[in-house]
């Protein structure tokens, strides 16, 4: 049996999405900037997709800028604000658990003289809203805090932070722009830019059964962004380059599908996630769930298996046809432990023994039953193989259970 439980890394492109995209590779191949009929049909498809994306998050279509994905959206938001505010000065607030697309961008700006505050998180991975308030300085221009974490699924109090920044503005502080990376939450939670109170929001198609290589940045009307790419005047002069119409059409379709019966779909996924966690906890000693137990996405379960190396578990699972990830999928080439789980205060061993299971609408209960069965076997084998004093505790517990 093949079971794909790495949907936070990427999802399969939905058949309806592929079908919607196909004509735009061939007969509808026009450039949306062309004035002839081919171009106008491409333009119509582009604007329809823009409406579909905007509808999913409660934005106006003119506030959607299509980009190549979540990484570019994060770069455009953060560097765009820094550019508009004048390079080599200003202060940005973010957190220690952001995606590398935000962290690396912030570090690059630090090299140029921007000051960055990286807020810590609680044991559950939550940002303290009051701490955001205390971090604000006179020259703070931007706060960038992810909506939901890609490794743990923990959901940040974005709405409260949005209110806090609004209050700071009302009290006389120069406007502090608020960006959130919502790549993991869009399509998993109801996301509305008005209730969140954000000025910019990053999205990616391939996390919601759309194609890879396309995403969007929501930019609230009136927000001035500097440029990070130079070229033509596409996307209301915010992102040059010929629009990738097939991918954009796929993204639009994926957004429409994601918005349909969202809560029922996610409730079913949360039930599967809870079932997996319950079964593993009942059948394997020394399993610990990472992240906040309440403020969490329905589709991610991050678990640490005591006395087991996550990569060994991952490889052994892969050999049984089960795909999961350990640490952050984007960091798996590095030997460093997950910066997210480290920021949560997990011990080195807990970080090392962590696996992320991420579900999709296509995940079935039969698949979870199979995954539980093989994990029980593999953890038992790996613990059996470990030197005695490394695994004695869990092995003895296992013998009693």
């Amino acid at each position: 049996m093949l079971v794909y439980l790495d949907n936070s890394a990427t999802t399969s492109t939905a058949p309806d999405v592929v079908a919607a995209m196909l004509p735009y590779f061939s007969e509808q191949m026009g450039n949306a900037q062309s004035v002839h009929s081919f171009g106008q049909r491409a333009k119509a498809a582009l604007e329809k997709a823009r409406r579909q994306v905007a509808t999913l998050i409660g934005a106006a279509p003119t506030e959607i800028v299509f980009v190549s994905g979540g990484t570019e959206a994060d770069n455009l938001a953060i560097r765009g604000i820094a550019e508009a505010s004048g390079q080599r000065r200003g202060h940005i607030i973010t957190t220690e658990i952001e995606h590398p697309a935000v962290l690396a961008t912030a570090r690059a700006l630090e090299e140029q003289g921007v000051v960055v505050t990286y807020l810590p998180v609680s044991r559950g991975g939550l940002v303290d809203v009051a701490q955001v308030g205390r971090a604000i300085r006179e020259d703070t221009v931007l706060v960038s805090i992810m909506h939901a974490n890609n490794e743990t699924g923990t959901i940040q109090p974005i709405e409260e932070i949005g209110k806090l920044l609004g209050e700071a503005h009302a009290a006389g502080h120069t406007r502090i722009y608020f960006h959130t990376d919502a790549v993991q939450s869009v399509g998993k939670l109801p996301v509305n830019i008005h209730s969140l109170g954000v000025d910019m929001l990053s999205m990616s198609a391939h996390k919601i059964h759309g194609p890879k290589g396309i995403g969007a940045l929501y930019v609230r009307k009136g927000v001035r962004l500097g440029k990070i790419l130079f070229g033509g005047h596409h996307e209301r002069d915010r992102r040059p380059g010929t629009e990738n119409i097939p991918a954009i059409v796929g993204f639009g379709t994926a957004c429409e599908l994601a918005g349909a019966s969202l809560e029922a779909r996610m409730s079913r996924i949360a039930d599967l996630r809870d079932y997996l966690e319950r079964e593993l906890n009942d059948r394997i000693p020394g399993v610990r769930a990472n992240g906040d137990p309440l403020a969490r996405l329905p589709n991610i379960s991050n678990l640490s298996f005591e006395g087991v190396d996550g990569e060994s578990l991952l490889i052994a699972l892969d050999l049984k046809g089960v795909a999961v990830s350990t640490g952050s999928a984007c960091s798996s080439g590095s030997l460093e432990p997950s910066h997210v789980l480290t920021a949560l205060g997990l011990s080195r061993e807990q970080v090392r023994g962590s696996l992320r299971f991420s579900f999709s609408q296509y995940t079935t209960r039969e698949e979870i039953d199979y995954v539980v069965q093989v994990i029980v076997e593999i953890v038992d084998r790996l613990r059996e193989m470990a030197p005695d004093d490394d695994a004695a505790g869990v092995r003895n517990a296992s013998a009693q259970s």
Binding site: D309, S312, L319
Partner: protein, 129 residues
């Protein structure tokens, strides 16, 4: 990422456990990553008659520990003393460069086990291959 031989040793580790009456035991830890291999061996009449291994850590460490036992059981001690890192990596097909230290750890475990059994350690030149 890993060869089919590494995968096979992960799925079916060989000679796991600990000998009841070993001639020697090598128990080594990589201080950087905390990977660990514990090898027990029994030597009879100049031959490495039996070996059992336990290991914890990343996949190549488990595979290196497992394949090590296949390389040493039934061999003359004089042959075993000549084994080096590249014998481990060759037996596993290949290892990513960043994981080469796992093969070194297996050879270190072997060396310690031989030393604790009173044998001369493996040829240092051989282990640096």
């Amino acid at each position: 990422m890993y060869s089919s031989k590494v995968a096979d040793h992960i799925a079916n580790p060989r000679n796991v456990g600990e000998l009841d009456d070993p001639s020697g035991v090598g128990d080594v830890v990589n201080e950087v990553c905390q990977d660990r291999i514990r090898l027990s061996i029994r030597i009879e009449g100049g031959t490495l008659a039996a070996a059992r291994v336990r290991a914890s850590g990343c996949p190549p460490t488990l595979a290196a520990a497992s394949v090590l036992t296949e390389l040493i059981i039934g061999r003359q001690i004089t042959e075993v003393q000549l084994l080096g890192r590249t014998d481990i990596t060759s037996a596993l097909g290949r290892l990513p460069a960043a994981k080469a230290h796992c093969a070194v750890l297996a050879i270190d475990a072997l060396r310690n086990a031989l030393e604790s059994s009173g044998c001369e350690p493996p040829d240092p030149g051989a282990t640096s291959r």
